[in-house]
Protein backbone atom coordinates (compact mmCIF):
# COMPACT_ATOMS: atom_id res chain seq x y z
CA UNK A 1 0.00 0.00 0.00
CA UNK A 2 1.81 3.09 -1.15
CA UNK A 3 1.33 6.52 0.29
CA UNK A 4 2.04 9.25 -2.16
CA UNK A 5 3.30 12.69 -1.53
CA UNK A 6 4.82 14.01 1.64
CA UNK A 7 7.99 11.98 1.96
CA UNK A 8 10.38 10.07 -0.21
CA UNK A 9 10.93 6.46 0.60
CA UNK A 10 14.42 7.01 1.98
CA UNK A 11 14.72 3.60 3.53
CA UNK A 12 13.96 1.91 0.25
CA UNK A 13 11.18 -0.19 1.72
CA UNK A 14 9.66 -2.74 -0.60
CA UNK A 15 6.20 -1.97 -1.71
CA UNK A 16 6.15 -4.82 -4.20
CA UNK A 17 6.06 -8.35 -3.04
CA UNK A 18 9.60 -9.70 -3.21
CA UNK A 19 8.41 -13.03 -4.60
CA UNK A 20 8.08 -11.34 -7.95
CA UNK A 21 11.70 -10.27 -8.00
CA UNK A 22 13.59 -13.33 -6.87
CA UNK A 23 13.60 -17.07 -7.24
CA UNK A 24 13.48 -19.09 -4.09
CA UNK A 25 14.60 -22.54 -3.15
CA UNK A 26 11.79 -22.68 -0.60
CA UNK A 27 8.04 -22.47 -0.85
CA UNK A 28 5.85 -20.11 1.14
CA UNK A 29 6.89 -16.65 0.02
CA UNK A 30 4.67 -16.83 -3.03
CA UNK A 31 1.65 -17.02 -0.69
CA UNK A 32 2.63 -14.76 2.24
CA UNK A 33 5.01 -12.41 0.44
CA UNK A 34 7.67 -12.37 3.15
CA UNK A 35 11.34 -12.65 2.19
CA UNK A 36 14.11 -14.27 4.24
CA UNK A 37 15.07 -11.12 6.23
CA UNK A 38 11.40 -10.50 7.02
CA UNK A 39 10.85 -14.09 8.14
CA UNK A 40 13.89 -13.82 10.41
CA UNK A 41 13.04 -10.36 11.79
CA UNK A 42 9.41 -11.20 12.55
CA UNK A 43 9.93 -14.87 13.44
CA UNK A 44 8.62 -14.54 17.00
CA UNK A 45 5.29 -13.18 15.72
CA UNK A 46 5.15 -15.74 12.92
CA UNK A 47 5.28 -18.37 15.64
CA UNK A 48 2.05 -17.06 17.15
CA UNK A 49 -0.63 -19.26 15.58
CA UNK A 50 -3.31 -16.55 15.68
CA UNK A 51 -1.04 -14.19 13.73
CA UNK A 52 1.40 -16.28 11.68
CA UNK A 53 2.67 -15.56 8.18
CA UNK A 54 -0.78 -14.54 6.99
CA UNK A 55 -0.98 -11.80 9.64
CA UNK A 56 2.57 -10.65 9.04
CA UNK A 57 2.20 -10.68 5.28
CA UNK A 58 -0.91 -8.51 5.55
CA UNK A 59 0.71 -6.18 8.11
CA UNK A 60 3.78 -5.64 5.91
CA UNK A 61 1.45 -4.40 3.16
CA UNK A 62 -0.78 -2.36 5.48
CA UNK A 63 -0.73 1.38 6.06
CA UNK A 64 -1.67 3.00 9.36
CA UNK A 65 -1.98 6.71 10.16
CA UNK A 66 -1.30 7.81 13.74
CA UNK A 67 -2.80 11.20 14.60
CA UNK A 68 -0.68 12.69 17.38
CA UNK A 69 2.90 11.76 18.27
CA UNK A 70 2.46 12.42 21.98
CA UNK A 71 1.87 10.26 25.05
CA UNK A 72 -0.44 7.83 23.25
CA UNK A 73 1.21 8.10 19.83
CA UNK A 74 4.66 7.24 21.20
CA UNK A 75 3.97 3.60 22.08
CA UNK A 76 1.59 3.25 19.12
CA UNK A 77 4.33 4.28 16.68
CA UNK A 78 7.13 2.34 18.37
CA UNK A 79 5.15 -0.90 18.43
CA UNK A 80 3.70 -0.53 14.94
CA UNK A 81 7.16 0.22 13.52
CA UNK A 82 8.65 -2.76 15.33
CA UNK A 83 5.78 -5.01 14.26
CA UNK A 84 6.47 -4.23 10.62
CA UNK A 85 3.51 -2.16 9.45
CA UNK A 86 4.35 -1.46 5.79
CA UNK A 87 3.62 2.26 5.83
CA UNK A 88 3.32 4.31 8.99
CA UNK A 89 1.98 7.88 8.79
CA UNK A 90 2.58 10.39 11.61
CA UNK A 91 0.42 13.53 11.79
CA UNK A 92 1.39 16.21 14.30
CA UNK A 93 2.24 19.93 14.13
CA UNK A 94 3.85 20.24 17.54
CA UNK A 95 7.49 20.43 18.62
CA UNK A 96 9.11 18.38 21.38
CA UNK A 97 9.29 20.07 24.80
CA UNK A 98 10.83 19.12 28.14
CA UNK A 99 7.42 18.55 29.75
CA UNK A 100 6.65 15.93 27.07
CA UNK A 101 9.50 13.60 27.91
CA UNK A 102 7.98 11.86 30.95
CA UNK A 103 5.31 10.23 28.78
CA UNK A 104 6.17 10.79 25.12
CA UNK A 105 8.82 8.10 25.21
CA UNK A 106 9.51 8.19 21.47
CA UNK A 107 11.23 11.59 21.82
CA UNK A 108 14.63 12.48 23.28
CA UNK A 109 16.20 15.20 25.43
CA UNK A 110 18.15 16.32 22.37
CA UNK A 111 14.93 16.75 20.38
CA UNK A 112 13.39 18.75 23.23
CA UNK A 113 16.44 20.99 23.53
CA UNK A 114 16.48 21.61 19.79
CA UNK A 115 12.69 22.03 19.70
CA UNK A 116 12.45 19.54 16.84
CA UNK A 117 9.10 18.72 15.24
CA UNK A 118 7.48 15.68 16.82
CA UNK A 119 6.96 14.06 13.42
CA UNK A 120 10.69 14.23 12.64
CA UNK A 121 11.74 13.00 16.05
CA UNK A 122 9.18 10.16 15.93
CA UNK A 123 10.11 9.17 12.39
CA UNK A 124 13.79 8.92 13.33
CA UNK A 125 12.94 6.69 16.28
CA UNK A 126 10.72 4.45 14.15
CA UNK A 127 13.37 4.06 11.45
CA UNK A 128 16.04 3.29 14.06
CA UNK A 129 13.88 0.37 15.17
CA UNK A 130 12.88 -0.75 11.69
CA UNK A 131 14.58 0.65 8.61
CA UNK A 132 12.61 -1.67 6.32
CA UNK A 133 9.27 0.11 6.72
CA UNK A 134 8.15 3.35 5.15
CA UNK A 135 7.45 6.22 7.55
CA UNK A 136 5.64 9.32 6.29
CA UNK A 137 5.71 12.63 8.12
CA UNK A 138 2.57 14.79 7.97
CA UNK A 139 3.86 17.89 9.74
CA UNK A 140 0.52 19.61 9.95
CA UNK A 141 -2.40 20.12 12.23
CA UNK A 142 -5.24 17.69 11.51
CA UNK A 143 -7.99 20.03 10.32
CA UNK A 144 -11.32 19.85 8.55
CA UNK A 145 -9.64 21.15 5.40
CA UNK A 146 -6.93 18.47 5.19
CA UNK A 147 -8.60 15.59 7.08
CA UNK A 148 -9.87 13.61 4.10
CA UNK A 149 -6.61 13.92 2.17
CA UNK A 150 -4.74 12.73 5.25
CA UNK A 151 -6.83 9.64 5.96
CA UNK A 152 -7.59 8.45 2.41
CA UNK A 153 -4.25 6.75 1.65
CA UNK A 154 -4.35 4.68 4.83
CA UNK A 155 -6.08 1.44 5.83
CA UNK A 156 -6.47 2.15 9.56
CA UNK A 157 -6.47 5.42 11.52
CA UNK A 158 -5.29 5.70 15.13
CA UNK A 159 -6.57 8.68 17.11
CA UNK A 160 -3.82 9.54 19.60
CA UNK A 161 -4.71 13.23 19.72
CA UNK A 162 -5.16 15.34 22.82
CA UNK A 163 -8.21 17.52 22.21
CA UNK A 164 -11.93 17.32 21.58
CA UNK A 165 -12.04 19.13 18.23
CA UNK A 166 -9.44 16.86 16.64
CA UNK A 167 -11.30 13.79 17.90
CA UNK A 168 -14.44 14.85 16.04
CA UNK A 169 -12.55 15.74 12.83
CA UNK A 170 -10.68 12.43 12.85
CA UNK A 171 -13.90 10.49 13.44
CA UNK A 172 -15.83 12.27 10.73
CA UNK A 173 -13.02 11.87 8.21
CA UNK A 174 -12.86 8.15 9.00
CA UNK A 175 -16.60 7.78 8.48
CA UNK A 176 -16.63 9.73 5.22
CA UNK A 177 -13.55 7.93 3.87
CA UNK A 178 -14.72 4.54 5.18
CA UNK A 179 -11.79 3.87 7.51
CA UNK A 180 -11.76 2.04 10.84
CA UNK A 181 -10.71 4.19 13.80
CA UNK A 182 -8.77 3.09 16.89
CA UNK A 183 -9.44 5.76 19.48
CA UNK A 184 -7.58 6.15 22.78
CA UNK A 185 -7.44 8.75 25.54
CA UNK A 186 -5.64 9.14 28.84
CA UNK A 187 -5.70 11.65 31.67
CA UNK A 188 -4.54 11.63 35.25
CA UNK A 189 -4.65 8.00 36.33
CA UNK A 190 -7.28 6.83 33.83
CA UNK A 191 -7.50 5.70 30.26
CA UNK A 192 -10.16 4.79 27.69
CA UNK A 193 -10.00 2.86 24.43
CA UNK A 194 -12.47 1.92 21.68
CA UNK A 195 -12.53 0.87 18.04
CA UNK A 196 -15.10 2.82 16.01
CA UNK A 197 -16.72 2.37 12.64
CA UNK A 198 -14.82 -0.82 11.73
CA UNK A 199 -17.79 -2.88 10.53
CA UNK A 200 -21.46 -2.44 9.57
CA UNK A 201 -23.56 -1.67 12.64
CA UNK A 202 -20.63 -0.50 14.79
CA UNK A 203 -20.95 2.98 16.24
CA UNK A 204 -18.67 5.89 15.39
CA UNK A 205 -17.32 8.35 17.97
CA UNK A 206 -20.14 10.74 17.12
CA UNK A 207 -22.79 8.05 17.67
CA UNK A 208 -21.44 7.82 21.22
CA UNK A 209 -21.03 11.54 21.76
CA UNK A 210 -23.35 13.47 19.42
CA UNK A 211 -22.93 16.60 21.54
CA UNK A 212 -19.41 17.68 22.54
CA UNK A 213 -18.58 18.00 26.24
CA UNK A 214 -18.05 21.28 28.06
CA UNK A 215 -14.98 22.01 30.15
CA UNK A 216 -12.92 19.03 28.99
CA UNK A 217 -9.79 18.72 31.10
CA UNK A 218 -6.35 18.62 29.50
CA UNK A 219 -3.08 16.91 30.46
CA UNK A 220 -1.54 20.38 30.90
CA UNK A 221 -4.06 21.10 33.67
CA UNK A 222 -5.14 17.80 35.15
CA UNK A 223 -1.78 16.05 34.71
CA UNK A 224 -1.13 12.50 33.60
CA UNK A 225 1.13 9.77 34.93
CA UNK A 226 3.41 8.89 32.01
CA UNK A 227 2.82 5.16 32.02
CA UNK A 228 -0.98 5.55 31.72
CA UNK A 229 -0.97 6.75 28.08
CA UNK A 230 1.82 4.21 27.64
CA UNK A 231 -0.60 1.42 28.49
CA UNK A 232 -3.50 2.81 26.47
CA UNK A 233 -1.22 3.53 23.50
CA UNK A 234 0.15 0.00 23.62
CA UNK A 235 -3.40 -1.32 23.53
CA UNK A 236 -4.16 0.98 20.59
CA UNK A 237 -1.21 -0.51 18.72
CA UNK A 238 -2.62 -3.97 19.43
CA UNK A 239 -6.10 -3.05 18.20
CA UNK A 240 -4.65 -1.38 15.11
CA UNK A 241 -2.74 -4.57 14.26
CA UNK A 242 -5.88 -6.65 14.80
CA UNK A 243 -8.01 -4.38 12.62
CA UNK A 244 -5.35 -4.16 9.89
CA UNK A 245 -4.86 -7.93 9.72
CA UNK A 246 -8.37 -9.08 10.56
CA UNK A 247 -7.35 -11.28 13.45
CA UNK A 248 -9.27 -11.74 16.71
CA UNK A 249 -12.12 -9.57 17.90
CA UNK A 250 -11.36 -5.85 17.87
CA UNK A 251 -12.79 -3.65 20.62
CA UNK A 252 -15.73 -2.71 18.42
CA UNK A 253 -18.99 -1.47 20.00
CA UNK A 254 -17.14 -1.87 23.25
CA UNK A 255 -15.04 0.41 25.39
CA UNK A 256 -12.12 -0.45 27.61
CA UNK A 257 -11.81 1.59 30.76
CA UNK A 258 -8.56 1.56 32.74
CA UNK A 259 -8.20 2.80 36.30
CA UNK A 260 -4.49 2.92 37.12
CA UNK A 261 -4.98 3.65 40.84
CA UNK A 262 -6.84 0.39 41.46
CA UNK A 263 -5.41 -1.49 38.45
CA UNK A 264 -8.90 -2.19 37.15
CA UNK A 265 -9.40 -2.91 33.46
CA UNK A 266 -13.07 -3.05 32.49
CA UNK A 267 -14.67 -3.70 29.14
CA UNK A 268 -18.19 -2.40 28.65
CA UNK A 269 -20.75 -2.89 25.91
CA UNK A 270 -21.62 0.14 23.78
CA UNK A 271 -24.64 1.05 21.66
CA UNK A 272 -24.69 0.25 17.94
CA UNK A 273 -24.61 2.71 15.06
CA UNK A 274 -27.11 5.53 15.52
CA UNK A 275 -29.50 6.02 12.61
CA UNK A 276 -29.61 9.72 13.47
CA UNK A 277 -25.82 10.21 13.66
CA UNK A 278 -24.69 13.30 11.74
CA UNK A 279 -21.68 11.38 10.41
CA UNK A 280 -22.68 7.72 9.94
CA UNK A 281 -26.47 7.90 10.25
CA UNK A 282 -29.07 7.27 7.58
CA UNK A 283 -29.11 10.92 6.49
CA UNK A 284 -25.65 12.22 7.29
CA UNK A 285 -25.05 15.95 7.23
CA UNK A 286 -21.29 15.46 7.33
CA UNK A 287 -20.17 14.34 3.91
CA UNK A 288 -17.15 14.58 1.63
CA UNK A 289 -18.59 17.91 0.48
CA UNK A 290 -19.46 19.46 3.85
CA UNK A 291 -16.67 18.13 6.05
CA UNK A 292 -13.83 20.35 4.73
CA UNK A 293 -15.71 23.50 5.72
CA UNK A 294 -17.27 22.22 8.96
CA UNK A 295 -16.35 24.58 11.81
CA UNK A 296 -15.06 22.15 14.45
CA UNK A 297 -13.68 24.85 16.74
CA UNK A 298 -17.13 26.40 16.91
CA UNK A 299 -18.83 23.01 17.22
CA UNK A 300 -16.86 22.00 20.31
CA UNK A 301 -17.23 25.39 21.98
CA UNK A 302 -20.89 25.92 21.07
CA UNK A 303 -22.07 24.93 24.51
CA UNK A 304 -21.15 27.87 26.70
CA UNK A 305 -18.90 27.41 29.66
CA UNK A 306 -21.20 26.93 32.66
CA UNK A 307 -18.98 29.11 34.89
CA UNK A 308 -17.51 32.09 33.02
CA UNK A 309 -14.72 34.05 34.68
CA UNK A 310 -15.53 37.31 36.42
CA UNK A 311 -14.29 40.44 34.67
CA UNK A 312 -12.13 42.48 37.01
CA UNK A 313 -11.43 46.19 36.65
CA UNK A 314 -7.86 47.41 36.21
CA UNK A 315 -7.95 48.66 39.79
CA UNK A 316 -8.67 45.14 41.05
CA UNK A 317 -5.60 43.63 39.36
CA UNK A 318 -1.88 44.08 39.86
CA UNK A 319 0.86 43.01 37.48
CA UNK A 320 3.74 40.90 38.74
CA UNK A 321 6.13 43.80 38.07
CA UNK A 322 4.03 46.25 40.09
CA UNK A 323 3.63 43.76 42.92
CA UNK A 324 7.41 43.19 42.98
CA UNK A 325 8.31 46.88 42.93
CA UNK A 326 5.65 48.39 45.15
CA UNK A 327 5.06 45.58 47.63
CA UNK A 328 7.90 43.06 47.82
CA UNK A 329 10.85 45.41 47.25
CA UNK A 330 9.22 48.14 49.33
CA UNK A 331 8.96 45.70 52.23
CA UNK A 332 5.27 46.37 52.73
CA UNK A 333 3.56 43.78 54.92
CA UNK A 334 0.85 42.03 52.89
CA UNK A 335 -0.92 38.72 52.44
CA UNK A 336 -0.59 36.34 49.46
CA UNK A 337 -3.46 33.87 49.09
CA UNK A 338 -2.62 31.05 46.68
CA UNK A 339 -5.88 29.48 45.43
CA UNK A 340 -4.35 26.57 43.52
CA UNK A 341 -5.03 23.01 44.64
CA UNK A 342 -2.71 21.86 47.44
CA UNK A 343 -0.77 19.47 45.18
CA UNK A 344 0.06 22.35 42.84
CA UNK A 345 0.97 24.68 45.73
CA UNK A 346 3.39 21.96 46.88
CA UNK A 347 5.30 22.19 43.57
CA UNK A 348 6.37 25.82 44.05
CA UNK A 349 4.82 28.92 45.62
CA UNK A 350 5.59 32.60 46.23
CA UNK A 351 7.44 33.47 49.45
CA UNK A 352 5.01 33.90 52.35
CA UNK A 353 2.00 32.65 50.41
CA UNK A 354 -0.75 30.82 52.26
CA UNK A 355 -2.53 27.95 50.52
CA UNK A 356 -6.33 28.09 50.35
CA UNK A 357 -7.65 26.13 47.34
CA UNK A 358 -10.37 28.08 45.52
CA UNK A 359 -13.14 25.64 46.37
CA UNK A 360 -12.41 26.06 50.10
CA UNK A 361 -11.96 29.83 50.00
CA UNK A 362 -15.59 30.66 50.71
CA UNK A 363 -15.40 28.71 53.98
CA UNK A 364 -12.00 30.08 54.99
CA UNK A 365 -12.53 33.83 54.86
CA UNK A 366 -11.65 33.90 58.57
CA UNK A 367 -8.20 32.50 57.76
CA UNK A 368 -7.63 35.32 55.29
CA UNK A 369 -8.80 37.88 57.86
CA UNK A 370 -6.46 36.38 60.46
CA UNK A 371 -3.54 36.64 58.02
CA UNK A 372 -4.47 40.27 57.33
CA UNK A 373 -4.54 41.03 61.07
CA UNK A 374 -1.15 39.41 61.48
CA UNK A 375 0.29 41.47 58.62
CA UNK A 376 -1.31 44.61 60.10
CA UNK A 377 0.56 44.00 63.33
CA UNK A 378 3.79 44.30 61.36
CA UNK A 379 2.73 47.59 59.73
CA UNK A 380 3.66 50.98 61.12
CA UNK A 381 0.86 52.56 63.16
CA UNK A 382 -1.84 54.45 61.22
CA UNK A 383 -0.87 52.93 57.88
CA UNK A 384 -3.60 51.50 55.65
CA UNK A 385 -4.77 47.91 56.07
CA UNK A 386 -2.41 45.41 54.38
CA UNK A 387 -3.32 44.36 50.85
CA UNK A 388 -4.28 40.81 49.91
CA UNK A 389 -2.88 39.41 46.64
CA UNK A 390 -4.65 36.42 45.16
CA UNK A 391 -2.55 34.16 42.96
CA UNK A 392 -3.08 30.94 41.00
CA UNK A 393 -1.27 29.20 38.16
CA UNK A 394 -2.18 31.42 35.20
CA UNK A 395 -4.37 34.13 36.67
CA UNK A 396 -7.88 32.79 35.99
CA UNK A 397 -8.98 31.15 39.24
CA UNK A 398 -7.39 34.07 41.10
CA UNK A 399 -9.94 36.37 39.44
CA UNK A 400 -12.72 34.29 40.98
CA UNK A 401 -10.88 34.35 44.31
CA UNK A 402 -10.39 38.13 44.18
CA UNK A 403 -14.04 38.73 43.39
CA UNK A 404 -15.08 36.41 46.24
CA UNK A 405 -12.83 38.12 48.81
CA UNK A 406 -14.11 41.54 47.79
CA UNK A 407 -17.71 40.30 48.08
CA UNK A 408 -16.85 39.03 51.56
CA UNK A 409 -15.68 42.47 52.61
CA UNK A 410 -11.97 42.28 51.93
CA UNK A 411 -11.94 45.38 49.74
CA UNK A 412 -8.20 45.52 49.24
CA UNK A 413 -7.92 42.11 47.58
CA UNK A 414 -6.09 42.17 44.23
CA UNK A 415 -5.65 39.67 41.46
CA UNK A 416 -2.01 38.95 40.65
CA UNK A 417 -2.19 39.03 36.86
CA UNK A 418 -0.91 35.96 35.04
CA UNK A 419 -0.32 33.90 38.18
CA UNK A 420 2.89 32.14 39.12
CA UNK A 421 3.57 31.44 35.43
CA UNK A 422 3.84 35.20 34.80
CA UNK A 423 5.90 35.60 37.98
CA UNK A 424 8.37 33.03 36.64
CA UNK A 425 8.41 34.57 33.15
CA UNK A 426 8.64 38.21 34.14
CA UNK A 427 10.27 38.39 37.55
CA UNK A 428 11.96 35.28 38.88
CA UNK A 429 13.54 32.92 36.33
CA UNK A 430 14.50 30.56 39.18
CA UNK A 431 10.80 29.85 39.79
CA UNK A 432 9.89 26.50 38.14
CA UNK A 433 6.97 26.45 35.73
CA UNK A 434 4.98 23.30 35.12
Amino acid sequence: MAVEGDAKNEAGAESERPAKRARFNWIGSESHGLDKPQVERYSRQLLVPAFGVAGQGTLCCASILVVGAGGLGSPVLLYLAAAGVGTLGIADDDVVEQSNLHRQVIHTEAAAEAGNPKTTSAKEACQRINSSIKVVEHRTRFTAANALDLVRPYDVIVDASDNVATRYVVNDACVVAGKPLVSGAALGMEGQLAVYHDRPGAPCYRCMFPVPPVGARRCADAGVLGVVPGIIGSLQALEAIKVATGIGEPLSARMLIFDALTTRLQTVKLRGRSATCAACGDQPTITAETLPSFDYAHFVSADTDPSPLPVLSAAESVSCAAYKARVVDAGRPHVVVDVREAHQFAIAALPGAISIPLKHLVNRIADVQAAVAEAAARCPAESAAPDVYVVCRRGNDSKIGTRLLRQKGIGNAFNLTGGVVAWADEIDPSFPTY
Binding site: G68, G70, G71, L72, G73, A160, S161, D162, N163, V164, R167, G184, A185, A186, L187, G188, E190, G191, Q192, M208, F209, P210, V211, P212, P213, V214, G215, A216, R217, R218, C219, A222, V224, P229, M255, I257, D259, Q266, T267, V268, K269, L270, R271, D303, P306, S307, K359
Partner: protein, 100 residues
Protein backbone atom coordinates in the same frame (compact mmCIF):
# COMPACT_ATOMS: atom_id res chain seq x y z
CA UNK B 1 -35.81 1.10 48.20
CA UNK B 2 -33.04 -0.40 46.09
CA UNK B 3 -29.38 -0.76 46.96
CA UNK B 4 -27.15 0.36 44.11
CA UNK B 5 -23.41 0.50 43.56
CA UNK B 6 -22.59 3.89 42.08
CA UNK B 7 -19.28 4.70 40.43
CA UNK B 8 -17.96 7.98 39.12
CA UNK B 9 -14.84 8.26 36.99
CA UNK B 10 -13.05 10.22 34.31
CA UNK B 11 -12.87 13.19 36.71
CA UNK B 12 -16.55 13.13 37.74
CA UNK B 13 -15.48 11.81 41.14
CA UNK B 14 -14.17 15.32 41.87
CA UNK B 15 -17.80 16.44 42.10
CA UNK B 16 -18.47 13.72 44.69
CA UNK B 17 -15.83 14.45 47.30
CA UNK B 18 -13.16 12.67 45.25
CA UNK B 19 -14.80 9.32 46.07
CA UNK B 20 -15.27 6.96 43.11
CA UNK B 21 -17.41 4.21 44.58
CA UNK B 22 -20.59 4.71 46.58
CA UNK B 23 -23.07 2.16 47.90
CA UNK B 24 -26.41 3.91 48.13
CA UNK B 25 -30.04 3.19 48.92
CA UNK B 26 -32.47 4.94 46.66
CA UNK B 27 -36.24 5.08 47.30
CA UNK B 28 -38.82 4.73 44.56
CA UNK B 29 -40.91 7.78 43.75
CA UNK B 30 -44.20 8.01 45.64
CA UNK B 31 -46.59 5.39 44.30
CA UNK B 32 -43.97 3.86 42.00
CA UNK B 33 -42.81 0.27 42.24
CA UNK B 34 -39.55 0.64 40.37
CA UNK B 35 -36.63 3.01 40.64
CA UNK B 36 -35.69 4.43 37.25
CA UNK B 37 -32.40 6.02 36.19
CA UNK B 38 -34.26 9.33 36.05
CA UNK B 39 -35.17 8.88 39.74
CA UNK B 40 -31.56 8.01 40.51
CA UNK B 41 -30.34 11.26 38.89
CA UNK B 42 -32.77 13.30 40.99
CA UNK B 43 -31.64 11.42 44.09
CA UNK B 44 -27.95 11.95 43.29
CA UNK B 45 -28.53 15.66 42.79
CA UNK B 46 -30.27 15.96 46.15
CA UNK B 47 -28.14 13.63 48.22
CA UNK B 48 -24.69 13.01 46.78
CA UNK B 49 -23.61 15.80 44.46
CA UNK B 50 -21.25 18.07 46.40
CA UNK B 51 -20.46 20.85 43.91
CA UNK B 52 -21.03 22.32 40.46
CA UNK B 53 -24.19 20.35 39.52
CA UNK B 54 -23.96 21.83 35.99
CA UNK B 55 -20.84 19.71 35.44
CA UNK B 56 -22.89 16.55 36.00
CA UNK B 57 -26.45 17.31 34.95
CA UNK B 58 -28.06 19.14 32.09
CA UNK B 59 -31.82 19.45 32.06
CA UNK B 60 -33.22 16.17 33.36
CA UNK B 61 -30.31 14.11 32.01
CA UNK B 62 -26.54 13.96 32.32
CA UNK B 63 -24.23 16.53 30.76
CA UNK B 64 -22.90 15.80 27.24
CA UNK B 65 -19.71 13.76 27.32
CA UNK B 66 -20.85 11.58 30.22
CA UNK B 67 -21.39 7.92 29.44
CA UNK B 68 -23.84 6.03 31.67
CA UNK B 69 -23.29 2.31 32.13
CA UNK B 70 -25.77 0.00 33.82
CA UNK B 71 -24.09 -3.28 34.76
CA UNK B 72 -21.30 -2.67 32.22
CA UNK B 73 -23.78 -1.83 29.47
CA UNK B 74 -24.33 1.50 27.68
CA UNK B 75 -27.62 2.94 28.99
CA UNK B 76 -28.63 3.59 25.38
CA UNK B 77 -29.16 -0.19 25.12
CA UNK B 78 -31.50 -0.32 28.09
CA UNK B 79 -33.77 2.68 27.79
CA UNK B 80 -31.70 5.63 29.04
CA UNK B 81 -33.62 7.62 31.67
CA UNK B 82 -36.49 5.10 31.66
CA UNK B 83 -34.23 2.19 32.48
CA UNK B 84 -35.13 0.54 35.81
CA UNK B 85 -32.41 -0.13 38.38
CA UNK B 86 -32.60 -3.09 40.70
CA UNK B 87 -31.01 -4.26 43.94
CA UNK B 88 -27.32 -4.95 43.43
CA UNK B 89 -27.07 -3.10 40.10
CA UNK B 90 -23.92 -1.15 39.34
CA UNK B 91 -24.40 2.21 37.65
CA UNK B 92 -21.27 3.91 36.34
CA UNK B 93 -21.04 7.55 35.27
CA UNK B 94 -17.91 8.13 33.28
CA UNK B 95 -16.68 11.34 31.76
CA UNK B 96 -14.97 10.80 28.42
CA UNK B 97 -11.29 11.62 28.39
CA UNK B 98 -9.58 13.59 25.65
CA UNK B 99 -5.97 13.78 26.77
CA UNK B 100 -3.18 12.05 24.97
Amino acid sequence: MVEINLEFSGGLELLFGDVKQHKVQVPAKDGAIQVLISDLLVWIRGNLLKERPEMFLKGDSVRPGILVLINDCDWELCGRLASPVEDGDTVVFISTLHGG
